[in-house]
């Protein structure tokens, strides 16, 4: 028996808390929807800001960080600088998220404390990634995208802390001028560019796609990065021109990215539309719908369009891109830990056998219907529709939590 290297698969006990907590925060975010009424839904409402942080920090960031513990060595082709640091990230990120969500809702004074805890968690992550990247000798497009996205995250989170201090009344700053930069640096600069970069590795790997050009992705990442920089400039210069340039560049970059994804889809050898493929197809169509709504908003200046666009970006694109990958990453890690030492000695399951087929379909169908219904409800400003969409999402989220536990406990 040869020793099994852990270089490309960190211990599962290190990563599993990220996925468990991420799924629970997703469920909490869905439950939160029941407490909204259409009158208080606006972009800067404290309840909305609190909800957005619960979803983005608790679910999206938590899951991305956990996934990166495994994916960084895969895409950077070097071992982690200190993968044990990830043991500190999930507790800090959880506590920080809860403090921030509570702070936005009722107790602004605790907001900076939550902000500092989140800052520490994210700084540990970013520094670990930077020190791992330092070991890379020759950069490719994916490695560059990891570097760029983490630099944006670094600045985005600092902007966020400054805003939290201002929100709590500890320092005197113009929060609104920093808001756009914070939003763009973290959401577009980090989350979107991370998804863009990783998709170049993961989508062809699972779809067995070959022979596609990566040039469109390079162009798309460059344009989206320029959009983020343009937003930061617009914040400091108070320039509407730079702001509009950044919106247009973001939309253009993401349309080019969608074209790139379509070429991967068309060149794939593996035609099976499994839960992974279904989730990603829904995610990418949500992205396009979100972009179209955002462009219409820029022309009509009607806030429900922006809300619906943001909703589709978060719960459609981000959430389904992530849940789809969870159905690949967890089975791999569990299989690697429990079954790989048994290969050649006894019959071991295939990765696809470890998926809860019916329950993952329930998660997909109810989740997707919920996303569409809430998107329409936001456009129509209809309270009953929001609750109806939330009900579908709740069933989907419960199934998702169940699926995560099922895969983690598969024996």
């Amino acid at each position: 028996m040869f020793p099994v290297s852990q270089d490309f698969a960190p211990p599962f006990k290190l990563i599993s808390p990220f996925f468990i907590l991420g799924s629970l925060f997703y469920l909490l975010s869905v439950l939160y929807l029941f407490f909204f009424s259409i009158e208080n839904i606006s972009m800067l409402d404290a309840k909305v800001v609190s909800f957005v942080h619960l979803f983005l920090l608790g679910f999206i960031m938590m899951t991305i960080f956990g996934a990166m513990a495994q994916l960084v060595p895969v895409v950077l082709e070097v071992g982690h600088f200190g993968v044990e640091l990830f043991y500190a990230i999930w507790p800090l990120l959880s506590i920080g998220t809860i403090l921030m969500v509570t702070g936005f809702l009722n107790y602004p004074m605790i907001l900076p404390f939550g902000g500092v805890v989140v800052l520490i968690a994210i700084m540990i992550f970013v520094m670990e990634i930077f020190l791992t990247i330092k070991k890379v000798k020759k950069f490719n497009l994916v490695m560059s995208s990891v570097l760029i996205s983490n630099m944006f995250l670094f600045f985005g989170i600092i902007f966020g802390l400054v805003m939290a201090l201002g929100y709590a009344g500890m320092i005197n700053i113009d929060i609104n001028s920093l808001l756009k930069s914070h939003v763009f640096l973290v959401i577009v600069g980090y989350i979107v560019i991370t998804i863009m970069g990783l998709s170049m590795v993961l989508l062809p790997m699972f779809g067995l796609s070959h022979g596609f050009s990566t040039k469109p992705l390079k162009i798309a990442i460059t344009i989206v990065s320029l959009a983020v920089l343009s937003t930061v400039l617009s914040s400091f210069l108070d320039s509407k021109l730079f702001a509009y340039i950044s919106y247009m560049l973001t939309a253009l970059g993401l349309f080019i990215y969608f074209y790139f994804i379509n070429t991967i889809y068309k060149t794939r050898a593996r035609k099976e539309i499994d839960i992974y493929a279904k989730s990603l197809i829904f995610a990418y169509f949500s992205l396009i719908a979100s972009l179209i709504l955002a462009i219409i908003y820029l022309t009509l200046d009607y806030e429900p369009l922006l809300l619906s666009s943001g909703w589709l970006m978060f719960f459609g694109f981000f959430a389904f891109a992530i849940t789809g990958h969870i159905y690949k990453i967890i089975p791999f890690l569990v299989w690697f830990e429990r079954f790989s030492p048994l290969v050649g000695k006894q019959k071991v399951p295939m990765l696809a056998d470890m998926l809860p087929k019916k329950s993952s379909s329930v998660q997909f169908i109810f989740g997707a219907i919920g996303v569409v219904v809430v998107a329409v409800a936001l456009l129509l400003q209809d309270d009953t529709f929001i609750k109806a969409g939330a009900s579908f999402l709740l069933i989907g989220a419960l199934a998702f939590v169940r699926n995560v536990f099922y895969m983690i406990n598969y024996r």
Partner: protein, 100 residues
Amino acid sequence: MYSKEELFLAISTVIDPEVGFNLVEMGLIYDASCDEEGNAYVKMTLSTKACPMHQLIQQWVKEAVLKMANIKNVEIELVWEPEWNITMANENVKKALSRG
């Protein structure tokens, strides 16, 4: 000592758990040979450079060949040229993957 076909047959016991096919029918094994002293050589690739199981898969190939009688040593050369694509897989794999 062993022919290329015999070595390929031994390696065909190694299955990629993600796609469910063995490495030989996937077309991932480019060459195999063995001398009279029991030193085997396998030239292979993977479907992607980013495969997180690349170390494991090479270990399985090594173990599969080492199970053959009188094989003492196995050298594995992992190459990226020619780059693998689906045309290198056998007809059964191609059909199964394209069925959806």
